[in-house]
């Protein structure tokens, strides 16, 4: 018998969403899981055999949220659709560690309410363009084979061509393609990292080759893709390692296949290293860099070192013919200029620039 998907041995479904298609899909995808229907106030059952639980429930609040930015750094204007919480993969740098203490995964099954909210926002002015993603507190596609969330969402978004949906993941899952969306409205995207970081710090994620093969399959199906180098870690030999990943990209993709690439140096809440150690893990070496606390209260690598990382990545990507769609994630104008030679203002503002790249293969603003 093959091990349960993502080690999920318990499926708890709130009675309020027990009859939804998502709950039915989850039951079908997890035939061995212990299924419980929870009345309001019932505690979550313990997952048997040391596995983890998936809680299918309704989300009571807003679904569409702006990406958490701060006024100190340049934000990319991304908006996120809240589809669930927690992730079955385990990256040592993951911010979710700060939010969730247990392994329970949550998926929001009240998609009718979600579509009602999104329809109000996206339908108000069809000429207004949106660039959205899923999973502020989750990987966009990790649970897709179980919940079919993205397939449902893509079906809804077919009526809103002004919205481009970015699907950011560290899996190689392409089951969302079954929804057969217009390739111009979806940007499958992958987080990439140095091979050593993927091997040692990203547990249960797809290999770099698998991610890039999936990206290549998307391109062959007519999609453009996005890539994210975030976090870029500072460790002995980082230049060689990141160069290897950049070079590998172009074994699978051509520069024009890529809508944009983000670069973000490792940053974290100051308490993250302590949390890792409290889990009994040794602190990864990249967390022992020369950090300072930035004005947003986050731990960041000292600015000249970050510039060196970002500049290195930009030059390596440029060496393969990719430079126009490059941006820095949560960086100041000083870092932008030093690393990329221009500030977001000179691109017409980062949010507008990326919106244009997302909606238009040429990367210029489409006429409306």
């Amino acid at each position: 018998m093959s091990p349960p998907l993502w080690d999920i041995t318990a499926l708890a479904v709130d009675a309020a969403v027990a009859e939804t298609p998502m709950a039915a899909r989850a039951r079908a995808a997890l035939p061995e899981a212990a299924v419980t229907v929870l009345a309001a106030g019932d505690p979550l059952p313990q997952a048997p055999n040391g596995g983890r639980g998936l809680h299918v429930k309704a989300h009571p609040g807003r679904f569409l949220r702006p990406c958490p930015a701060t006024r100190h750094y340049r934000c990319c204007g991304y908006q996120i659709i809240h589809i669930g919480e927690n992730c079955p993969m385990d990256c040592s740098y993951c911010i979710l560690r700060a939010y969730f203490r247990d392994r329970t995964l949550t998926a929001f099954a009240n998609t009718e309410a979600m579509f009602a909210e999104l329809g109000r926002v996206f339908g108000r002015d069809p000429s207004r363009l949106f660039r959205v993603g899923t999973g502020q507190f989750a990987d966009a596609l990790a649970l897709e084979p179980i919940t079919g969330h993205t397939r449902e969402l893509l079906g809804f978004l077919a009526g809103h061509p002004n919205v481009v949906l970015e699907l950011k993941s560290k899996t190689a899952d392409l089951t969302w393609m079954e929804a057969d969306p217009d390739p111009k409205t979806v940007l499958p995207s992958w987080s990439l990292n140095a091979p050593a970081i993927v091997a040692a710090q990203e547990r249960d994620t797809a290999s770099l080759e698998a991610r890039l093969s999936a990206a290549q399959a998307c391109v062959q199906a007519g999609y453009r893709v996005c890539l994210h180098f975030d976090p870029i870690c500072w460790f002995e030999g980082w230049e060689r390692e990141y160069a290897a990943t950049v070079d590998m990209i172009f074994d699978f993709l051509a520069p024009d296949d890529i809508a944009y690439v983000s670069l973000g140096s490792f940053r974290c809440l100051p308490e993250l290293p302590g949390r890792l150690m409290a889990e009994g893990r040794e602190l990864p070496r990249y967390m022992l860099g020369e950090f300072t606390i930035g004005p947003d209260g986050k731990t960041r690598l000292l600015r000249p070192l970050r510039v060196r990382q970002l500049r290195f990545m930009a030059r390596r990507l440029a060496g393969h013919g990719f430079s126009r769609g490059l941006y820095c994630c949560m960086e100041s104008d000083e870092v932008w200029r030093a690393a990329l030679g221009q500030a977001p203002r000179e691109l017409g503002g980062l949010a507008a620039h990326l919106l244009a790249r997302a909606h238009n293969p040429g990367g210029t603003r489409p006429c409306s």
């Binding site: 002995e236 020369e290 300072t292 000292l302 000249p304 000083e334």
Partner: protein, 341 residues
């Protein structure tokens, strides 16, 4: 109990159960000389041979006074009421070494127990009954019920006994035991000269060891190797004041751990000194050097002081050092991670 009168030279004063034994001071010797021995010592007779159980300082002082004997009360070798007081870990009667240790502790009851004294007691008891047995048997005599020192002493006892002298001399605090215990023996050995060189607080020692071990990890070498190439082992021999030595060691270890940050700080400090020479304006960098900006700060108490500060600031605005100061974080300070400093 009949008192015994023993020649003090016939008594073993270096027996391990006399773990708090110390040389007598002049006051005790003078008192014994003038008033004689007012409190008897305690001995345990085994095979007709008396073993001193309490009173080692008196015995040592009496050795210095010609013709004086030590007055001692002899306790029976085995406690006849032992079954009523099963203190031994296995519930049986106490072994002789345990009994001697506990009598010694009991005879010192009421004395303020320093960290070093508690550690010395631990060194005696732990080989006999283990750490838990030590804390159970001797803990109530050593520590107040809500005193966390028992746990700290237990941690300290995992360190080599050579460190006890530094605890006693106040160079190393008891609370640093956990940090020190995390070092490999050869790394601890390498750090010993610095441990003995200054009086460390728990916080400063903890910071120093964190800098060292993290720098070593980044360099892919042992803390001992990092330390030996750092030049810091020479610092204690340079005749610095204790405060300057502590500050110098901490700064040196921090430089090992944060070469780029400290380079940037040093550059900023040099430029701000150059810029503000002769004025009372203080210059601070942006938080974490994140932006190309600086804060200029001056406190004034009068119109004249404000005028002077304004003139100073105007001069700074025209100084060639200003653009360099503002752009200090644009200069490259990087070294390969792990590169030797």
């Amino acid at each position: 109990m009949q008192p015994l009168f023993l020649h003090p030279r016939d008594i073993d004063l270096s027996a391990p159960h006399l773990f708090w034994g110390a040389a007598p001071d002049a006051a005790l010797t003078d008192s014994l000389a003038a008033l004689g021995q007012v409190t008897p010592a305690l001995v345990l007779e085994t095979d007709g041979r008396p073993i001193l159980a309490a009173g080692s300082r008196r015995a040592a002082a009496l050795r210095e006074l010609k013709g004086r004997t030590l007055c001692a009360l002899a306790l029976p070798e085995a406690d006849p009421d032992a079954s009523d007081h099963p203190l031994a870990p296995d519930g049986g009667p106490l072994s002789l070494p345990l009994r001697l240790g506990l009598i010694y502790l009991a005879s010192n009851l009421g004395r303020a127990v320093t960290d070093a004294m508690a550690a010395a007691a631990g060194r005696y008891f732990v080989p006999l009954v283990g750490v838990d047995g030590f804390l159970a048997l001797a803990g109530p005599q050593l520590f107040a019920p809500d005193d966390r020192r028992g746990r700290l002493v237990a941690r300290w006892l995992t360190l080599p006994p050579a460190l006890d002298a530094l605890l006693a001399s106040g160079h190393v605090p008891l609370g640093a035991g956990e940090r020190l215990a995390a070092l490999a023996p050869e790394d601890l050995n390498a750090f010993m000269p610095l441990l003995a060189a200054v009086r460390w607080s728990r916080g400063s020692l903890s910071a120093a060891l964190a800098f060292l071990t993290e720098a070593a990890r980044l360099a892919g070498e042992t803390p001992a190797a990092t330390l030996s190439r750092s030049g810091l082992l020479d610092l204690p021999g340079r005749g610095l004041s204790p405060n300057d030595l502590t500050a110098g060691l901490l700064a040196g270890l921090r430089r090992l751990r944060y070469p780029a940050v400290t380079t940037l700080e040093a550059r900023f400090t040099a430029l701000s000194r150059e810029l503000s020479r002769g004025s009372r304006v203080k210059i601070r960098p942006s938080q974490g050097f994140e932006s190309d900006s600086a804060t200029f700060e001056v406190t004034v108490k009068s119109r004249q002081e404000l005028s002077k500060a304004a003139a100073d600031l105007a001069a700074m605005a025209a100084a060639p050092a200003l653009p360099r100061l503002l752009a200090v974080a644009q200069e490259d300070v990087s070294e390969e991670p792990g590169e030797k400093t």
